[in-house]
Structures are given as C-alpha cells and as structure tokens.
Symmetry: C2
Subunit: 197 residues, 2 copies
C-alpha cells in the first residue's frame, strides 16, 4: 500500500488522492500542514529535499515527488493516459503548462488571499493578469469539447481541475469562463470529486 503525504488544502495533493480513488488504488494519507511549515522539518526534507507536498512512499520505502509525476506513475497503463501517441503528447503539454503557467498564478493568488489573508487588492496585479490569461486560454481550448484531450477523461483534466475549481478562493469568477465552468462540473462528476468547493 502506498502512503500519500499531503495537505488537504493543496490541489496538487488532491490530484494524487483522486487518481488513487478513480483507479481503486489503496492508500494511506498522512496530513502535512503547509501553512505551519511542516514540509520544512528535517524529517520531511529527508523524504523530499524540495520541501514540497505531495510525496508518496511506495511499499519498498522509495519516495516520489511532484504531483504530476506521481499521478503519471499511478495511472500507468490506465485509461487516464491516452493510448494514441499524439493525444498522450497533448496530455503532457497540458501537464507541463499547468505547472508552469496555471498553478504558479491561480494557486498562488488563492493561497495569498485565502490562507495568508492578504487583501486581493494587494496581490501583485501581474500575477492576477497571468491567472486570468490562463483561465482565458483554457476557456478557448474547452469550447465545444467535453475534456481537454481526446474526448476522454485524462490526467490533463485531473491536474487542471485541481486549482481551477478553487479559483473563486482567489477572487476569480468562473462564470466569466463558461466553457471552463461547465468542464469543472463535468470533471467533478466524472472522477468523481467528493471534496466540496
């Protein structure tokens, strides 16, 4: 049985939980509180020198970090990874875009506003513009589509929904992005996601 070290406020950590649940992979969950800096203790840094959740510990004690690397490992050979090489490549394109352009804006604004208590008016305007650009790009990509890649639920949807569904915590209005809004509800139903928004 694998062990997930994660914080339930972190979309990156929930991705791993949802992938296990979808694929009926048994797991134990150990809470690591990010706000209290529990990822910075010597014990945690010995497991992940990058000081980030989530990590998983496998049966044999080996560890793995980076949410998207973890879900790729867990979902290997499943329908969450498209069989067609180009579709799979597009899934990877979304996974890397998520970590480069989406999470560092949308999740960071949410963290500052909701968990650090920073008034939204004091959040870096460039960061908010970057988040809005990310939501706009997704909205155009999802127009007329059920899922991000290949008309099937893939890890691209799992990864992107994680913080998109919490965008309102950072003051973003999903109703302004109707294709994204409908897609979030679709992915929540399909996975399914039990955690409330």
């Amino acid at each position: 049985m694998i062990t997930i070290y994660g914080d339930p406020i972190s979309g990156n950590c929930l991705k791993v939980k949802w992938t296990c649940e979808r694929l009926a992979i048994p797991f134990a969950w150990i809470d690591v509180n990010v706000v209290n800096r529990e990822t910075r203790t010597d014990a945690f840094l010995a497991m992940n020198p990058a000081g980030q959740v989530p990590i998983i510990v496998l049966d044999d004690g080996r560890t793995l970090a980076q949410s998207n690397a973890i879900i790729l490992h867990l979902a290997e050979g499943s329908a969450l990874i498209p069989a067609d090489p180009y579709d799979r490549a597009k899934m990877f394109e979304w996974l890397f875009w998520e970590q480069y352009s989406h999470e560092p804006s949308i999740a960071v604004v949410r963290f500052q506003v909701k968990y650090l208590g920073r008034p939204r008016a004091e959040v870096d305007a460039a960061l908010i513009a970057k988040a809005e650009a990310a939501l706009g790009l997704m909205d155009r990509a999802l127009e007329g589509r059920r899922f991000l890649v290949a008309d099937q639920l893939t890890l691209a949807d799992v990864a992107l929904v994680a913080y998109t569904r919490f965008a309102h915590d950072g003051g973003f209005v999903l109703a302004d992005y109707p294709a994204v809004d409908a897609w979030v509800r679709r992915v929540e139903t399909e996975l399914p996601i039990k955690e409330p928004r």
Copy 2:
C-alpha cells in the same frame, strides 16, 4: 520531417534540437525571436495560444508545445527514457521540478541580466535565492552520480542541463556547485552539445 520553431537563446528550444540530434530525427529549424516578441504575432498565436517557444509542427500539420512534452514525444521508445517504471517516474519528477523550480528562477535571472540588460543587483533577491536553492538541490542530488536518473543519460539530464549550463549568464558560479559543474561537462560531452556556453 518535423519543423521546430525556436529561439537559439532559449534553453527550452535547444532541448528539442539536442533530442533530435541525439536520436537522428531530421528536422527543420525556424527562428522565432523572443526578445522582438515574435511569439506574440497573430500567426504564431494561431500555432500556440500560449505564445511560447518551442513548438514543433509534425508532418501532418499538427502542433505540439511545451519543451518537455515535445522531447517526451520525440524520445518515445528510445534509451533517453528509462524502461524501469520507478526510474521513469524519477525522470518525470525532475522534468516537472525543472519547469516549476529551476527554469522560472535560473532562466529568468539569466534573461533579465543578459537579454534585458538589468544590473544583477537590481534583480529580485528572492528570485536569486530560489535559483541558488535549485542549484544546491541539484548539487546534493548529483554527488557521486554520473546522471540524474539510473546511471544513464535521460531526458532529465537534457532538460536540466539546458539552463544550468547558462547559469553564469545570470551571475551564478557553477564552480560553487562542483557536482553540477562536472555533470554539465559530462552531459555536454555525452549528448553531445555543440553550442558554445
């Protein structure tokens, strides 16, 4: 034959070129000047709505973006991707870490100093600290190792060497990270990389 749209000053673009050269994949290269904002023209945005290089265009006209997604697609089935599932997962861990923690600090400091002409003393100190932390983490990971994963050259090395070998452009001193310094020279020889540092 695939076409690479890239800027030769971009490590992300060179990753794609090196992967093609290593695997003897024929390609055409079309220069796209980032500093002149040629990634923001309507014609380019039609190919990649994210407005970033590199992209590749396949034989059939379909496009693919995100450097690490591209090299994964090109290297599928080759020795640049480890066969062992855990080794492959560790390669993915490095690829996502590169895009989240390494490129946004090391490449961005380099770009500001070398290409925007910003004096290094005026670069955000937190960004420099993040870059130094990334180099330190790599140095500890590489101690006693030839390559990042599984004692073989993998896409993790291709992706991480891209901006690490240009870190001096941002004022970082690789000699302060001796395991990284030796690894850069090893990867440059092994790939091999022809572009001067």
